[in-house]
């Protein structure tokens, strides 16, 4: 059946590609409304302080200011998780990080709003602040949230199997501390929200609210707006325009989205708020700094018998997705390899920094870095090939892991085979010149969380399809396309199922007034869940068309083949040969000539005329069949829903809700790097990344997602890091944050592995997140292969590489969590910065200040 598809499995341009390349596509900040005001937010300059008073009177008097709002204007707490309603749109009594939201001004221009912000007087009482999670956990007074003793957001302690026994019986135990520093999404589009109230037609007071926002979760936004603004959800419409990248940063409701609503209510005018890049870094919700103490027990043959992990996450000032993040870190120790005994202790700790949340590879990435690095150490110790040790620990699906995760399709073995072959691993590993090395690592991710954030029996996705007499197929889906191409996926699935051309399909997406509930673009759930809902909706419509067409063609509905815009009866001999499909534009022009007429121009009369002339026939065009079906049924529409099956929803222990998924994606990667031992600079030359996505519905998109994940992982591995000083972010800009540019980015060879999942739509699973986690340890392992140093703290900056090289030479251990390099020289030359040499030192230029004798008083 593999080659029996006409739409899916072929690379096509995204259906909204032209809007993006011509600049005509609209993102939230591109929208404006008549009379619209601009909002600006006043942020806290202190990491932890009590607000004694706020005086907004001067700001309110400034000409051009329409409204100034503070926390009291909408005091209801909210948060993305039901257990984490600890945020306010604007601070009520306390600010908890530098950048916390204090007040908002809505004015006729951004310049006036900014001027007004300076006129707001806030009296703060400073409180002790906590920046290090392990310090924060020890505190008992001045808590960040009064109801969280020891500033501990949540801790989990899981034991599966009998790890103690397994460690006692192990042949070898590896143990180590790994540290992954904090990273942020840095999506290219800064967050933006536009909120507008309509007047109630009966009373003239403020009525319905419409919010356009750069969000991955329109439905949750509608939910939280209702909560804070105390309005019924039915009175709130959330529309997601094009979104310029999310990566998890827009997967929860952040204060800006609520503040815009409050400001629009206070000003009684539309209000748009767009973050500056610096504000985006404060809004954050990225991947927390994570300390992983990891212990792995193995037998001499390389079989893993137990894993023990203690994970501490520096979660920032609010819960955000934190409880889920800390659970993912433990849960996804399982489902990649066969590990019979697991002990997990996870601590999510509050600190006075911006809240961390979900970021691509949510919760799994930093632990995977630790695990795959340690596995590499074990392989070296056992003198075993790192690829081979991974092969020896494969799962044997279908199975249920010790921590209750159901695994069905499992393409990991083929992924490993593919990258070993493509990278010529066996011929080259360990044989490259000094300074150059190869490293291997694997990872996996969920294809949608099997349990939604708000526990209920509601379907996770519902899709409606409507077809009218013009033959146009309109899909109403709540799926939120954030650039990953979900609109295109939905169109492909529907067109494939209905056997029509892609150009017939119009996608109406992510508008809570028009589209049925979909819980959002997070946990890599959209292709699997919304794809399945679309498939079911299309099948329902197809059944109706087939019933009507069967009567016209005198055959049984089940025998009708839908393909290439035609319905054919019986053996399909009349099916037109499969057309090769180049890019999107060709498909559009091709469809215009279907059945020799301009699409949409067949009127009922002429069709009946045609039928009379021809009598019963062997085939019908799609349009004819649609018209017949509408005549027969009265209307043509279908609905499909998807909820994960109960057996995929995980075990019964506390915290078992996070980790289970109907299917898991798998990735294996080889990275080739070189290390400059003089400068500590690591260069990644190439990454081979094989990803099991079940089935590639649109291969060019799958490859794009895999490459993008690998690239983002490489950023975390080498350069990206949020650098803090006393709660203040030192690098809140794209250049300082060091997102890699084209010159630093290696070639990534994406290899698609198709395991055809039994429950995925056409067998598809996720493609956008699972590959990220493997890249960091693959690079770490390649560095070890190149120069023999084991880096346990990411990113692997030149400073850390040099420190590790020095530590290796002097056999001095590196303490990673002190933030200070213990191997660094303590004496420096006077002119600053240059290392102190005990001997003569290198030859210096005659004008080098170090050569000049010091002249106190500067008589030179």
């Amino acid at each position: 059946m593999t080659n029996d598809y006409s739409i899916i499995g072929k690379s096509i341009a995204m259906i909204d590609a032209a809007g993006k390349t011509t600049g005509s596509g609209k993102y939230t900040d591109d929208l404006s409304l008549p009379g619209m005001l601009y909002g600006k937010i006043l942020h806290s300059p202190h990491p932890h302080a009590r607000i004694k008073s706020i005086d907004t009177s001067r700001a309110e008097r400034l000409d051009g200011v329409v409204a100034v709002i503070t926390g009291k204007d909408a005091p209801n707490p909210f948060g993305i998780l039901p257990v984490g309603h600890d945020e306010h749109a604007l601070a009520l009594e306390k600010v908890r990080y530098v950048g916390d939201n204090v007040a908002c001004v809505a004015a006729v221009s951004e310049a006036i709003a900014e001027k007004a912000l300076e006129m707001i007087a806030v009296d703060y009482e400073l409180l002790p602040a906590y920046f290090d999670p392990e310090e924060s956990m020890k505190t008992e007074t001045n808590l960040i949230h009064d109801n969280k003793p020891n500033n501990l957001e949540k801790d989990y302690h899981h034991v599966f199997g009998d790890p103690e026994k397994a460690f006692a019986e192990a042949d070898y135990i590896a143990e180590g501390r790994f540290l992954a520093n904090e990273v942020s999404h840095a999506a290219m589009e800064p967050h933006c929200t536009l909120a507008s109230f309509e007047l109630d037609p009966h009373t003239g007071t403020l009525g319905r609210l419409t919010v356009w926002s750069s969000t991955q979760v329109p439905y949750y936004l509608q939910h939280k707006l209702a909560l804070v603004l105390e309005m019924p959800m039915s009175q709130i419409r959330v529309i997601k325009p094009l979104v310029g990248g999310g990566f998890g940063g827009k997967s929860e409701v952040i204060p800006i989205e609520i503040i815009a609503g409050i400001a629009a209510r206070a000003a009684q005018k539309p209000v748009k708020i767009t973050y500056t890049r610096e504000e985006v870094f404060w809004a954050h919700r990225g991947r927390p700094r994570t300390i992983v103490d990891l212990k792995t027990a193995v037998k001499n043959d390389g079989i893993i018998t137990a894993v023990k992990a203690r994970v501490v996450q520096d979660g920032g000032a609010y819960c955000s997705y934190g409880v889920v993040t800390i659970l993912y870190s433990g849960a996804l120790l399982g489902a990649l390899y066969d590990i019979p005994n697991i002990q997990y202790d996870g601590y999510r700790v509050l600190t006075n920094k911006p809240a961390c949340g979900a970021m691509r590879g949510h919760g799994t990435v930093n632990v995977r870095f630790a695990f795959e690095s340690q596995l590499d150490e074990i392989a070296a110790k056992l003198k075993m090939d790192p690829a081979e040790i991974r092969r020896r620990n494969l799962l044997k699906p279908p199975c249920i892991t010790i921590n209750g995760l159901r695994v069905q399709s499992y393409g990991l073995p083929e992924c490993i085979d593919q990258i070993v072959t493509r990278s010529r691993w066996n011929e080259r590993k360990g044989k490259l010149p000094r300074g150059r090395g190869l490293g291997i690592a694997c990872s996996h991710y969920v294809s949608g969380a099997a349990n939604s954030i708000i526990r209920s029996d509601m379907p996770h996705s519902t899709v409606n399809i409507k077809i009218d007499r013009d033959g146009g197929v309109v899909i109403y889906t709540g799926a939120s396309d954030i650039g990953q191409g979900s609109d295109t996926m939905v169109a492909q699935v529907a067109a494939e199922t209905l056997g029509c051309t892609l150009s017939r399909v119009k996608v109406v997406a992510a508008d809570t007034d028009l589209t049925p509930i979909d819980i959002g673009s997070y946990s890599s759930r959209v292709t699997f869940m919304n794809g399945n809902a679309t498939l079911r909706a299309a099948q329902e419509v197809k059944k109706q068309i087939a019933a009507a067409a069967a009567k016209k063609m005198n055959c049984v509905p089940e025998e009708i083949l839908f393909r290439n815009d035609r319905l054919t009866c019986g053996d399909g001999s009349l099916t037109r040969p499969s057309l090769t499909r180049p890019g999107g534009a060709e498909i559009r022009s091709e469809s215009a000539t279907v059945s020799g007429r301009v699409e949409g121009q067949i009127l009922r009369g002429s069709l009946q005329q045609k039928r009379k002339e021809e009598g019963p026939k062997d085939s019908m065009t799609f349009e004819e069949a649609v018209v017949a079906a509408i005549d027969f049924h009265g209307a043509l529409s279908g609905t499909g829903s998807y909820a994960p099956p109960p057996e995929a929803r995980g075990g019964k222990h506390k915290g078992a809700g996070v980790g289970p998924s109907p299917a898991y994606s798998y990735s294996a990667q080889v990275a080739e790097v070189s290390v400059d031992e003089d400068t500590g600079q690591v260069t990644v030359h190439k990454v081979w990344a094989a990803h099991d996505c079940g089935r590639a519905l649109n291969p060019v998109s799958v490859e794009g997602q895999v490459i993008g994940s690998v690239w983002m992982g490489m950023g975390q591995a080498l350069t990206e890091e949020m650098i803090w000083k006393d709660g203040l972010l030192m690098n809140p800009g794209l250049l300082e944050y060091r997102s890699p540019s084209s010159v630093e980015s290696p070639e990534v060879e994406a290899i698609i592995v198709e395991s055809i999942d039994p429950e995925g739509p056409f067998g598809a699973k996720e493609a956008s997140e699972g590959s990220l986690a493997a890249t960091i340890p693959a690079i770490a392992n390649a560095i070890y292969d190149a120069v023999g140093i084991r880096l346990r703290e990411s990113p692997f900056t030149p400073e850390r590489v040099l420190a590790a090289l020095r530590a290796k030479r002097s056999a001095k251990p590196l303490n990673l969590t002190e933030g200070v390099d213990p191997t660094a020289p303590t004496k420096f030359r006077e002119h600053g910065g240059e290392l102190c040499f005990k001997g003569k030192g290198p030859k210096r230029h005659e004008f080098d200040p170090a050569r000049q004798p010091a002249h106190p008083g500067g008589a030179d």
Binding site: A13, R277, G483, A585, W711, L734
Partner: protein, 163 residues
């Protein structure tokens, strides 16, 4: 600040505008002329999403005063389509996955168009170097190279279609 009159020539049309002398070109394009194709991704000329051509040279509109562009020919992403349909590079970016979320894409369109104007047959090294002023957070750039090569091929063949 008091507004002053300015004549700006954008995509072949002259516009008479009243703007503040401190107004940035990007704000004038987006707010006064409704040319929202050029994007703001940062505030300090680090991302390249606002790249426009000023007299044929790629410039960052987010740190350029509109007044300084008077009398010059400005081309935005809205002005690079050819004969009412996609330019080869626009089509190639769509077909080869050069654009995912698309927010950085207008900047890349301008940068690549300029590159191919001054150097119709660039090496991979030259492409990488030319693109390094524009950041993308989705693609990892790899598929952009394929798109650019395809666009060059298409231009060579003088065809509007690719592959």
């Amino acid at each position: 600040m008091k507004k002053e009159l300015i004549e700006l020539r954008v995509n072949g049309l002259t516009h008479e505008l009243a703007i503040e002398p401190s107004a940035l070109l990007l704000d004038v394009l987006r707010r006064d002329l409704d040319l929202t194709g050029s994007k703001r991704g940062c505030d300090d000329s680090s991302c390249g999403a606002c790249t426009v051509l000023v007299d044929g040279t790629p410039m960052l509109a987010c740190t350029l005063l509109a007044f300084s562009c008077e009398g010059q020919e400005i081309t935005t992403v809205e002005g690079i389509s050819e004969h009412g349909s996609l330019a080869a590079i626009q089509k190639a970016y769509g077909d080869w996955g050069g654009a995912q979320c698309g927010y950085c894409t207008p900047g890349f369109m301008i940068t690549v168009k300029h590159l191919l104007t001054v150097n119709p047959d660039p090496t991979e090294e030259e492409i990488r170097s030319a693109l390094s002023g524009n950041l993308c957070r989705c693609t990892g750039y790899t598929q952009m190279y394929a798109a650019i090569k395809a666009a060059i091929e298409a231009e060579k063949k003088g065809m509007a279609t690719l592959k």
